[in-house]
């Protein structure tokens, strides 16, 4: 039976959670289909196993590989082919965790499709599709991640045998981190510096067999293994790869674009802009993942806070739910609002990507630079925020949050690498900044800019006035999200302008462009953050107009207001310094944030119910839908490996002898 506190919370909600779930899923039909797939997986005995918290790393890897192979078979059996449906299926099978075939399915196969010649596809695609060939994508090296041009692995063409000779010339050149490389794969797409006719032609991709088909032993010249334990990703065999004069036929270079002819002549590719597309796509997935991971953490923390009672608010009365403390609401509700905001941002980028990639295939690349710049920044902005938010949720659960049974430690360690992979966040922010600065200089030279940066156009109009750019106070309507969007817009404009001016000042000082850029980079990152923050507030606000149900509209409006006002309160200095808001307005904002906490409080549990995570997927004793936390913590603990025997062997080995001696 459901815990009485949670029952009461759900009964008091002012809206129907299913309606909100439909909005998050993109329609009632998508919700239905998602749940159908969820049931397919969760009711399948093949996908059941012991609680992963009690397994060693090797055991977790073993479970993952078992489930992955079944997953591939069943996906085909059920005929599930839509990318989003595959994503759901995989996410239910692996409960939101990575798995050893991720790189095979997500990088190896797609790269074959986009970069292999028809002949290469004939040779590799079907065996890879049938998992006779399992591949990974080996790009990152020990010494280089961010700076791709610095990769050191070499592939030297030998025209006499028509082979490439692959080498890892230094320790730092050892491939390091690729998922599925350590134990699973028998092939890898390796990125290496191509040398032919004595010249370096830059990075190219090669299909390299690494393990013997049949025995799975490493091939001669190949040293391969697992990189050891990590913070999370226990089920993933991230690996290393060292190659010593390892030869592969000429035909193993992926040659759809660049080519090396039998005599060693190098043929340049036509355009490399297309690789942008994949990056944009993957970064857009991370934005969605930020939303989902934060939503899971919020679900756990808010349900638990409704079940947990502690201390007294009023003397003589029963202990209140900890969710009734203002400090607890102040920790959790802004994060809840953030999770919703990021859901809508994720959906927006996905839609825009689909629209723009349609344009790309018809040859129109004009929107790509902005989308690329925007997703880089939003990837960093959302993953940083979610990363910190997940930890705040865990801390809000006190001691029990620290136990693995809370599920939040796992969410955190699984999520946190997304601040690093697919573009280190600071580097991403600086990419966005580069675009912002470029747009700013276009505006100052009299051109108009379009899209999300069009607010910069207003700067040139203001310049006619002698005053400081944004030194005009916004008439802020505190209950009107569109009015808050304006405030964020002014802040972004002012920080972009200030970074651009500082950059110019450094340039006047020192001349070297790179030095000036480096010495302004803290400002530049702040400008990018402000830009992203504005985009998020704007997209959340825009989403409200699409919501037809009045009750849902009301609750989402409150969340949107909380998101926007909390952001102002936290970054009050930016708004004050630029004169966008007065101190009196900031005080008003601070006060209104606290009022909103109380307004949202009755709907808090319903708002996390709307995320609609199944208990199995949530993987948390504290966040269970039925709220029966304590009895299930006890049940869970009894299964701990330390409890396998009544008297631990350490007693006989160490304790008893010591006591005998003393």
């Amino acid at each position: 039976s459901v815990n009485a506190d949670l029952r009461r919370e759900r009964a008091a909600a002012t809206f129907q959670p299913e309606l909100l779930t439909h909005i998050l899923d993109g329609g009632a039909e998508r919700t239905r289909r998602r749940k159908e797939i969820e049931a397919l997986v969760l009711n399948d005995p093949d996908f059941q196993h012991e609680d992963l918290n009690f397994l060693s790393r090797s055991q977790r890897y073993e479970q993952a590989i078992r489930k992955s192979s079944l997953m591939v078979m069943k996906l085909r059996e059920y005929g599930i082919a839509d990318p989003e449906e595959i994503y759901w299926f995989k996410s239910f099978v692996h409960r939101g965790r990575p798995e050893p075939l991720d790189l095979h399915l997500g990088m190896f196969l797609p790269t074959l499709l986009t970069q292999a010649t028809p002949e290469q596809q004939d040779r590799f695609f079907m065996p890879a599709w049938n998992l006779e060939i399992v591949g990974t994508y080996a790009q990152t090296e020990m010494g280089h991640g961010t700076h791709l041009r610095g990769l050191e692995t070499t592939a030297t063409y030998d025209p006499s045998t028509q082979e490439f000779i692959l080498n890892s010339p230094t320790v730092t050149s050892i491939k390091w981190w690729p998922g599925g490389l350590g134990k699973t794969s028998n092939h890898a797409i390796v990125l290496a510096q191509l040398y032919t006719q004595g010249e370096c032609k830059g990075l190219h991709a090669f299909i390299v067999p690494i393990r013997q088909l049949g025995t799975h032993e490493p091939l001669p010249g190949i040293t391969v293994g697992d990189i050891g334990p990590k913070f999370g990703y226990d089920e993933m065999d991230n690996g290393y790869l060292k190659m010593d004069n390892f030869r592969i036929p000429r035909e193993n270079m992926l040659m759809k674009y660049a080519q090396v002819e039998p005599d060693g002549t190098y043929v340049k590719p036509v355009s490399d802009k297309l690789t942008y597309g994949t990056m944009v796509f993957i970064r857009s997935l991370i934005v969605g993942d930020s939303a989902r991971s934060l939503s899971r953490a919020c679900t756990i923390a808010i349900r638990y806070s409704a079940v947990r009672h502690q201390s007294e608010l009023k003397p003589g009365e029963p202990e209140p739910q900890i969710l009734d403390y203002q400090t607890q609401q102040y920790k959790l509700f802004p994060l809840l609002a953030t999770a919703y905001a990021f859901h809508f941002v994720g959906a927006y980028i996905k839609d825009t990507y689909q629209r723009v990639s349609g344009d790309i295939s018809t040859g129109d690349l004009s929107e790509l630079p902005e989308l690329h710049a925007l997703t880089a920044g939003l990837k960093a902005f959302t993953s940083w925020t979610a990363n910190a938010g997940i930890e705040e949720c865990r801390m809000a659960c006190g001691g029990h949050g620290y136990s693995r049974c809370s599920g939040i430690p796992d969410i955190y360690v699984t999520f946190t690498p997304s601040c690093t992979y697919e573009g280190e966040n600071t580097v991403m922010m600086l990419q966005t900044a580069r675009f912002l600065i470029k747009s700013y200089s276009q505006v100052t030279s009299g051109q108009q800019v379009t899209g999300m940066v069009s607010y910069l156009n207003e700067l040139s109009r203001q310049r006619i006035q002698p005053q400081h750019v944004a030194a005009r106070t916004v008439t802020m309507r505190i209950n009107d999200p569109t009015s808050l969007v304006e405030a964020y817009k002014s802040r972004a404009a002012r920080l972009v302008e200030s970074a651009a001016k500082n950059l110019q000042a450094e340039l006047n000082h020192r001349k070297s462009k790179e030095d000036a850029w480096n010495r302004t980079s803290v400002d530049l990152v702040r400008a990018s953050e402000a830009h992203c923050h504005y985009v998020v507030v704007k997209l959340f606000t825009a989403k409200l107009a699409e919501v037809s149900d009045a009750a849902v509209h009301a609750v989402l409006t409150n969340l949107c207001l909380l998101y926007a006002l909390f952001g102002i309160s936290r970054n009050a200095g930016d708004f004050l310094q630029a004169g966008i808001l007065t101190s009196a307005q900031i005080s008003q904002v601070n006060q209104h944030v606290k009022e909103l906490l109380a307004v949202i409080r009755p709907n808090a549990v319903a708002l996390v119910d709307s995320f609609d995570f199944h208990d199995v997927h949530l993987g948390s004793v504290l966040g269970r839908y039925d709220g029966n936390v304590y009895e299930n913590m006890f049940e869970w603990a009894k299964k701990s490996p330390l409890n396998k025997t009544q008297v631990h062997e350490s007693f006989h080995k160490h304790l008893k002898p010591m006591q005998a001696k003393l």
Binding site: G150, H216, Y240, K314, Y402, Q577, Y630, M633, K638, K653
Partner: protein, 658 residues
Amino acid sequence: SVNPDLASERQTASFCVEKLTALLDGGTEQTRIRRAVVEAIQSDPVFSRENQYFQTQNERYEAAVRKAVHLQKKMHEMGWTENGPEYKYIYRALSGDVAFLLHRVFMRSISVLGSDKQIAKWIPLATQHKLIGSYAQTELGHGTYLQGLETTAVFDTATQEFILNTPKISAMKWWPGDMGRSATHTVVFAQLYIHGKCYGIHPFIVQIRSLQDHSLCPGITAGDIGPKMNFEHIDNGYLLLKNVRIPRENMLSKFCEVRPDGTYVRQGSQQINYFTMTTVRISLISDEVLTPLMKACTIAIRYSAVRRQSKLKPGEQEAKILDYQTQQEKLLPQLAAAYAFHFVNDYLQELFNRGYGEIQRKNFDMLPELHALSSGFKAVITQQCTAGVEICLRACGGHGYSLLSGLPSLYTKIIASCIYEGENTILLLQTARFLLKCFMAANAGQPVPPSVTYLAAVKHGKCPAKNKLDFLSPDIYTEAYQHVAVRLTSSAAAKLQDLIQSGVKKHDAWNQCTVQLVQAAKAHCHYIAVKNFAETVEKLETKAGIQKIMKHLCDLFALHGIFSNTGAFLHDGYISAAQIDMVTASYLDLLAVIRKDAVPLVDAFDFTDKSLNSALGSYDGQVYQRLYEWAQKSPTNQMNPAYERYLKPLLHNTLSKL
């Protein structure tokens, strides 16, 4: 050989590293003793931590027990005693990776809460490890709110026994260290009932496991609470009591006693209990909080001097990532915070020692201030150091995510400190309560403790800084911090009063002001930390370059605090918009200055490679070689059981048959 990129960093140090180490240790003699202890422990293979990242929970636990047992032998061998000068360095040398830490808490609670007779009976047994103790306070349903604990101890006059029970699931003891597997005894906190009347929470010594075969005693259910984020070497446990009878003499009775006829007698002052909490909160700062941050800074800064990525200038070598302003802005404020809080810890220790002296003379006047400062700083330091370790972790990119970097385990360990010994939000509210009280008193012209006298001196001026260099003056920034602390305290006080006057009940009004009160408490601690750092710098000897570099760190600590919280300083116009630009400029300039000494500044923390246990942070900077060699030792590279079972059938064409 030392990596040349790291060697070059050391050649240009502006100060004498050895002298700074001695300053941190509190004298050259202390440095010598510490190094001797570290050497003795770390040269002994039993204490090795090399395989720790590869071990399971069971293996970690066993190793910790083995180490604890071996440590007894070692101490005897070395002639170290619990009262000797070496003792405090042992834990640091072991990096805390040892069992029976709660045994000491067990002993301390008996010493503090027990009668002389009880002390005479139990302490020798515990000292000789005839029994292993734990301390069972927290329950599944209650941590923060001690009065809410649900375990019961009912006095039975007929047999002169207490009957202990766990009446419901939420009353189960949960979390106590060493209790899951090791302990034979524990101090249980329970609601005392005599003749049907409840007398509140009291401590009882309960035997839970047999001294012969370690099996559970009748009526006892106990075990391990399962895997956590860290502390895998500790068997945090649960305990369920069912009609467990213990003799009347087992209630710790220094302050309260139950007579044979069931009469309840209270004796002595309970205030000393507060003092115990204060002791614990202050004592954990150094080993549990500052050390991890210092280690994380050492690892991240050394690695950032070795790691090269991208080019700052075309045609040049790739740059050290430490040369990127954004990387400096992540790491150097954490380094400054480590130093700032080290000096706060010195300040608290000194205050504590003075307080202890007063208490010996039965003068409890200093207790409220000590309690407020230790609560507030416990919260502020654990929170900022935890955030700092996480920043260091993420600043190391992908390699930071490997356990072999040492950073994930530092992080998962330090985060627990935000919760144990008082949840941070609760502690800040305690500090805030003290601040409000003192604020009212000060404004009514009554005397208040020294750390809060500034609350009376409310000034409505403006920050006098004229250019960015002015912000390198401690007077200027200390006053700014003071101004913010006063403003936040007074506005929280005004808000609270308004609410109460408008008819809101007192407790509701308090709850509605808690977000503001937390901010005020933080501002107070931040102010004291800045002021204390500035005063410490002033007192340092000027030679050997120490004072100069400490001054830079002090400036950085102060300006970083303003830079990252400009709203608080701009709010009432104390600092102007133009002045914020000056702060930012000075702050960013300082990064470049301190950058030059970053590696020597972490070298001064003087951690051995074995203490760091990190592939990225070792003294010689041979990062990649070490990472590669260490990874090969991972158990995952010894065998692949999944291959025969799952991979082989997968690769052998099972799918193409579909």
